[in-house]
Amino acid sequence: MAINSIFDIAGSGMTAQSVRLNTTASNLANADTASSSIDQTYRARKPIFAAVHQDALNAAIPPSINDDASRGVEVRAIVESDASLERRYQPDHPMADADGYVFYPNVNVVEEMADMMSASRSFQTNVEVLNSAKTMMQRLLTIGQ
């Protein structure tokens, strides 16, 4: 029954959005993590979303309308942002390097907040899809009663 795959699809959406929320939480938590070298400084992390394409040659799956459509979404990778780090002159800071500079992560707090809102909304939408698929399924089970 195709309704089963709706559960998978909405579930994959929820998983992807919660990974996005996770990275946002990590970015926000580390927004002020100072460091004395470029290499050790935290960099903003972003998930890369990609549509899941099923194997067209998989004989186990009967041909259906969705052969050339994707089935859900996946997080292909989590990448670190290449944006330049913030370099502040703070000679009194305990983490300051020999020249008196401290490095701060390239986390844009405003951007992260917007991302967080977007992720939680999308998560909610997927939950609603899941719920209505559940209702459809329950209706189907009552057929003939």
């Binding site: 699809i9 909405a10 992807a16 309308i65 979404v73 459809m136």
Partner: protein, 131 residues
Amino acid sequence: MAISFDKALGIHEQALNVRTRRAEVLANNIANADTPGFRARDIDFKAVLRQAKSIEDSLEVVTTDDAHMAIKTPAEGALLYRQPLQPSIDGNTVDTQTEIVQYSKNALDFQASFEFLNSRLKGIVSAIKGE
């Protein structure tokens, strides 16, 4: 007089099938609302149902060997791309609002088809029981 279930149930069984498939496609659009480059899909319900009906009426092809390829499904080629109203910078054409509206509408239509099918079944049952 024999009861033909196929005739008694009418088109509603196929309608339910197409409705669930459409729900799947729309759910996939919603899940990929944040995927860069993803293009929203939808199916033309009327066209698919018409095709499903015509395939059912035609002769069936039997595959007797593993190497045989399955017959093209009625829904072949019916998966269309949605025309976006507003371009987005990452090439994603999912408009979550549109998709949610279509999804809920589709779920309601599913219920309608279900009710028709269910009442037909109930009719058959009471006919069998002779009530």
